[in-house]
Amino acid sequence: MLELRKDIFADERDDNLKEIGKGTQRQDMLGHVTGTSSYFNDHQLQGMLHLKVVRSTEAHARLRLIDTTEAERSAGVRRIIRGSDVPRNLNTLLSLINFGKDDEPSLAVDKVRYKGEPIVAIVADSEREAFEAIAKVKVDYEPLPAVFDVEDALKPGAPVVNETYPRNTFTYHETYDHQKLRFGDADAALATADHVLEQRYQMSPIEHAPTETNGAIAAPDTNGRYVVYTSTQALFFSVDTCAKILDVPSNTFHFIGGTVGGGFGGKVDTLTEPLAILGAMLTGRPVRYVFGREEEMQYGPPRGAERIYVKDGVMRDGRVVARKIRAYFDSGAYTRLSSYAAVKCAAHLPGPYTIPNVYGDVYCVFTNRTPATAMRGFGVTAMDFAIECQMDKLANLVGMDPMEFRILNAYRDGDMKAHRREAKNTALIECVQVAAEKAKWPIRDEFRRASSRKDGGGSRAVIPPTPTDSHARPPAPAQQRTSYDRLPPTVTREPPRDPPPPAPPPSPRPAAPSHGATRFSSVFGTRRR
């Protein structure tokens, strides 16, 4: 039974609600357990064709030649789709909210940037015939030096993964190569701390491994519209992404989703819908594009791997006085959602603790790996792992109980957070107290009596003097890093046949009403409300 500590969360819930806290049957449960839930792939349409893609066998290579002559003659092949057939063959997911630059083609044109990148799509009468045609496509690769490590990617002379971001870092506010957090003087505090502990944490990519692989079925409908059955977990996001890539109004599509056979963030990237619809547009027939299991595991986007360095200064009495963090998010070859993950990560520093000196640099880095995407708390989970490991190690270093150590350093109501916002409704102390109690973990009286509502604010609400970074922004590494990149940096090379329109896509957001005050958003920068 869910227990709500009303003494702590008095204002958090209306007690007259009738659902929360009670056992309620999920509305889709009966369908799932009786096997009657309908998934996108349960739609067998008359005359349905099957789409499969030729995937890059190289992590980083220039495409010298894509020869499909033999594949075109292969039995059952209805249409071969190349990058030049895609109306707007360059997109980034968050362009729908004007965040980031278009950097990812639906089908690679002159270069592949990760192993498994789609190059050509084949629409055939059966999956088998599509596979047979794929075996007949000849791709001539000119391998380019690849980079797989986030820190190597930032070194001068590293191969340029994605020409949209020639420094291998996402660009924030059209200027910055990372997210920066400065609060107090972390270096000075580290110099005077009793102990300093610096650790490196390396995460791995994690596959969502949904039972149902990514896929979509698109079919021509009346009045020039298309009906799309899809596994997407973000239906309207996918509608708008398809409308952009296919350069048609979004009301061209009737998307039908709903039952997702496992998402967890792995079904927001809209990887199958645009090509399935394009296949239907080009053939006039229903087209199905479903990832195989190996495609899903190998080339479906994973949770990105993060590398995190944490350097903490702690005093003998257990107070953490400085926390300095460098984090590198491995976005893979394209942005997808890692740019946003880095923003979330920076916003999360230094964890739920009041630390007077905090320093954070968070980078979203491009490498020749599978593009990473959203997954369950992405941006925060890895950092929390690092921070909480660090808290245990610090407690051990000063000889304190780890629970008491957290209570000592926990933020309290009225404290100033590193983002210069006052901490409200804090409850870490109470959470730790309850966890200790439930685990029968003994903590001393003074820690049992601690409260998030007491002893916060005051000197803890002060914004400390914060030195500005003296060093200039690192200069952009030379553009000419690989033989392939020996072109004037002003030339747009991606894609040559189909350059993206210079104007940004029409924002689906209406202009925000102006309230006269400026507000800073870590995604949009400074804006007037």
Binding site: K52, E127, R128, F131, E132, A135, R293
Partner: protein
Amino acid sequence: MAVIVKTFASASEAAGALSSDRGARYLGGGTLVMRALNEGDVSVSTVVRASDQALTRIDASGPRVLLGAGVTFARILAERDLAFLHAPARSIGGPAVRNMGTVGGNLFAPTPYGDFTVALLALEATVAVQGGFGSRDIPIEEFLQARDRQAGTLVLSVSCTRPASSEAFRYRKIARIKPKGGSVITIAAHLPISGGRIAGARIAFGSMAPTQIRARAAERALEGRSLDVGTIAAAASAAGEGTSPADNALGSAWYRREIVGVHLRRLLSGQE
């Protein structure tokens, strides 16, 4: 071109269909062939099946045990007389895979699969195959060495001698996900004891070479000795000799070479 499925009443007819068609693949339980087809393996154009009862026969009553190629791991686990093979059978996949996966198919399972075959190799099993020119018996080691060239033949059965005691045959699969992950290393050891000394030691490894292999250096270290700490240590230190493991997602070649002796020592000294 659509995939053609051919079903025959007798194993010999199925074998004939296999040997006459380069694109033909025999479908046992389908845990390998259907996966390949679903993932777009266009080298398979014909699927051959046989409904021959002989392929699902189990003869476990005597000292010589015979398993039809179509016998599933679930059936082995249901057979009390095959207790010595329960550990390797149980180490394969989940219940769904064990319900479908067969002894014959396992002989062709590439690394990191093929665990049951590791047990059969340590037991010096004999593989009965039917080719275009009739049937013959092949020692399992020879069969595995020529596995890639066995495409045109059909495995009918495997047979081996029952170990003298439960102590004489040991099996251990090291996996990341228990109990059904792919193998990091699989080890089987057949150690017949005669007069207090090991006579005819057979150690087999999975995932330590392109196919399942015998660990001959470790066998030599054990042969003619009693299974004591010194002998086990000698076998463990010789475990990596002659192996050629590869890197895969489950472990690197280096890691496999480092740990193979550790796990062999644990297996031989009866540690969990």
